[in-house]
Amino acid sequence: MDGMGKGTVTPLASLFPVEESQKAAKRVQDTIAEKEKELDHLRVFIADNNNLINLVQKLPEELHHDIMVPFGKAAFFPGRLIHTNEFLVLLGEGYYADRTSKQTIEVLRRRGKSLESQVNSLEAIIKDHKAEASFFIATASEAAGGLVEIREDYVEENPSKQDLKSGPLKQDVSGLAGAERETTSVDDKEFARMMARLDELEEEERAAERGNLDDENEGAISDFDEISYQRPSDNNLQNSEDIQRRMALKQTNDIATKFPKEHKYQDDMADHFGSLALQSQVRELSEGKTMAKNLKNSDASEMSTIYPEEKIVHATNTSKAEVQYQASRPSDDSQKCYQQASTSSTVGHADHTQRNSRKEDSTSSQVGCQTSEPSFDSRRAFTGSIIEHAENLPKTSGEQNSSSSLVSGSQPSKPVSRFKMQRR
């Protein structure tokens, strides 16, 4: 449909001028040099401290030592150290304490430790700066090499789809949302989608607790679930907690990554599935980073999709009822797309088989869902597909993200009926 040939091509040099990036790199390298000087300073301190520890250790071995006692800066008296086991140690802020040799050594060791921690932090900072500098240099060289950024809008499909066939569907939605539909229907949809996903997750968790661990992947995931979610299944409480967490996560994601929605859901998944999905998330993020760095296929209009999501924060308490509705509805029919969303009715074994079947046709049906419905439903379906990928093929999720729009474009009309059925 669309998604093909919709994009802008910007030379990287226009976004990051070569000289500017080189300047930035130079500045970062200057800071690195500065920090390294500081580091040398600290290293000198540490060496001095170690010498002093040795000295303090040796001094009490004799009763007194002949030394030249300094008298001012330019003069000495011949004299000797007495009371060689009594040291006056600065504690800080002008306070001194009488310590023995051993105690002094302890004090000095502690000082050495703090110095070492300073060195470590400084080294970490330098490492950071070096990474930054290398990034700047890479950017500069890429810009100089005439690299081009290709932006392709993924979300632009949604409005066109809505135009195409959302006449009756819209009415349905309005029937659901009632009076709020004009202002908050989108938000409610988002919220409902979130709740549905939460219920999916809970359902999975429950299934996992029942111990249906035939499938390898599912077994692993349910393990994670059991570990991370041994909470009482008070749905509302859990939901609200999850939502809050999700809000925080989402906002951080919005600010920090500005990533496609798929990525965001991946993040959510990571939150829920623990380390397994976390790995995929990391991979995802790194992929995304390289994407952003090379600027090959990142979506320009993610920004626009982010805003409605943020509105959810304000609209959370508007549509609990609808949420319940949305969440429970999927279990009635159209299980292919929404089995996971079923709240509590699905029993372990059934759920399991359903899931297996769902896995098989997940790509096709969900892609179809995505294309066939207005933005809200397509996103939800898309979320489902992302869950699939997090479970089954975390490695390929990034590619799936990038290619999904094309796939959806290719199968526009097939699963409409299923969704409409579900609507009624």
């Binding site: 002093l52 008298f71 011949p78 140690v89």
Partner: protein, 151 residues
């Protein structure tokens, strides 16, 4: 002609920036060092005079052995004092000898200080002179469109 003048101005400015200003900075740093020396010796002189006044023969003091760790030290005989005479040499003096040396040293430091002050003043004067020259070069051909320079 204009080109020649411009080159001259450039040369002058280079001279000021590359030569005179670093010289000035160096001279001021040297003078600060001398100031410090002066302070050290005046302190020493005051201390010795105090010792003389109270006729101390032995004293106890705390020695900093590094990192603000102090150890008690004892000087059994304060009659002999070793004074730094420069270049890492220390000479054993009695108090009167030490005071004598310190006076001479202080005088010398004062002379050095004056020298440095002179030097600094002359460098500043040279800088001013060169700037004045540049200004003259710029002002004489007032009708010629020269790039505006800020000093």
């Amino acid at each position: 002609m204009d080109r020649l003048r411009q080159e001259k101005i450039l040369k002058f400015e280079e001279f000021v920036d590359q030569r005179l200003k670093p010289d000035l900075v160096r001279a001021i740093a040297e003078r600060d060092k001398v100031f410090e020396q002066q302070k050290i010796f005046s302190d020493l002189r005051r201390n010795i005079e105090n010792l003389e006044k109270s006729s101390v023969t032995s004293l106890k003091t705390l020695v900093n052995i590094g990192s603000e760790v102090y150890l008690q030290a004892e000087v059994p005989d304060t009659q002999h004092i070793f004074v730094d005479i420069g270049l890492g040499f220390h000479v054993e003096f009695t108090w009167s000898e030490a005071l004598n040396y310190i006076t001479q040293r202080e005088e010398r430091l004062k002379r050095q200080l004056e020298e440095y002050t002179q030097l600094i003043a002359s460098i500043k004067a040279q800088i001013k002179l060169v700037y004045e020259g540049i200004r003259e070069l710029l002002q004489l051909p007032a009708e010629k469109p020269f790039p505006e320079r800020t000093f």
